[in-house]
């Protein structure tokens, strides 16, 4: 698998994503600076990592969503390349208009860093096939703005189209509908607040996140 991790000023999970993809599926991972204007056509996966791109100026992910590399991310989304946005990456994909809704400040107003148990609510996506009959997954969240929000019509649309991929068993932050991760209509862009890149080996407390990468090998 050929993968690229986009690095923005303020990204801090970019290395985690690289090591996770290498460890889980032996991927060939390139780090790509956000000022680049080309992403190779033979990429199987583009990862938008967690962190605090541009110091969360204006809104989380807003500045990164208009970085020079963004045009290439949009092009790849259109042509069907798998795109995985984790944490700040999810925020960036929402700001870029590739996923519906947005992420608000946690309802507790606190930065939340802890393990969360997830319901794998759709194991029939290219990112979740490997979960098979496993309906629960443990990963960690680490964010101040993880509170998923969209209007009621959008939430209903996501439900009707079975595009809610992960839900929190115990909602940590006020996310509407307990939503932890959603996929686009075409099924090639996944955004999620919990970190599969911090849960890819037993030594880390959980290897449940590895399945996100393993699923892509079954394409």
């Amino acid at each position: 698998m050929k993968a690229a991790v986009i690095v923005y000023p303020g990204s801090n999970c970019d290395r985690d994503c690289k090591v996770a993809a290498e460890t889980a599926v032996n991927a060939d991972v390139k780090m790509v600076w956000h000022k680049e204007t080309h992403l190779s056509d033979d990429l199987d996966l583009i990862i938008i990592p967690g962190g605090f791109s541009y110091g969360d100026y204006l809104r989380c992910g807003a500045m990164a969503s208009v970085s020079p590399i963004n045009a290439e991310i949009l092009r790849h989304a259109e042509r069907g390349t798998s795109i995985l946005g984790i944490c700040n990456g999810f925020q960036i994909l929402c700001e870029a208009g590739l996923l519906e809704g947005t992420l608000l400040r946690n309802n507790s107003l606190k930065y939340i860093c802890k393990d969360v148990m997830l319901d794998v609510t759709n194991n029939n996506t290219r990112f979740t096939k490997a979960y098979g009959n496993q309906t629960k997954a443990m990963m960690t969240v680490g964010n101040g703005e993880g509170n998923y929000f969209a209007d009621d019509d959008t939430i209903k649309l996501l439900e009707d189209e079975n595009r809610i991929v992960f839900k929190y068993l115990e909602n940590p932050n006020g996310s509407k509908g307990d939503i932890a991760g959603i996929i686009n209509k075409k099924g090639n862009v996944l955004g999620m607040m919990p970190h599969p890149d911090r849960a890819f080996a037993k030594e880390l407390g959980s290897d449940d996140g590895a399945n996100v990468f393993k699923s892509l090998m079954q394409l």
Binding site: L58, V66, G101, S108, F149
Partner: protein, 80 residues
Amino acid sequence: MKIRVDVKLKNGVLDPQGRAVAHALHTLGFDEVADVRIGKAIELEVNETDKEKAKARAVEMAQKLLANLVIESYTVEVLG
């Protein structure tokens, strides 16, 4: 020319920051405060002499970047 873009959360969108500030105001004895909503004021200095043109461009900026229309609304005012 100076332009001011005000961005605020739409009604119905939870504003935890506003809620915390309301609590703090109550602590200070401002019991009449029923609700607080916090937004942003963005001032732009633009190289344009035509007011209408400048305003139209600022609206475009608000829609493309300054506001997230999922949760925020905006108003644009030419300050001159």
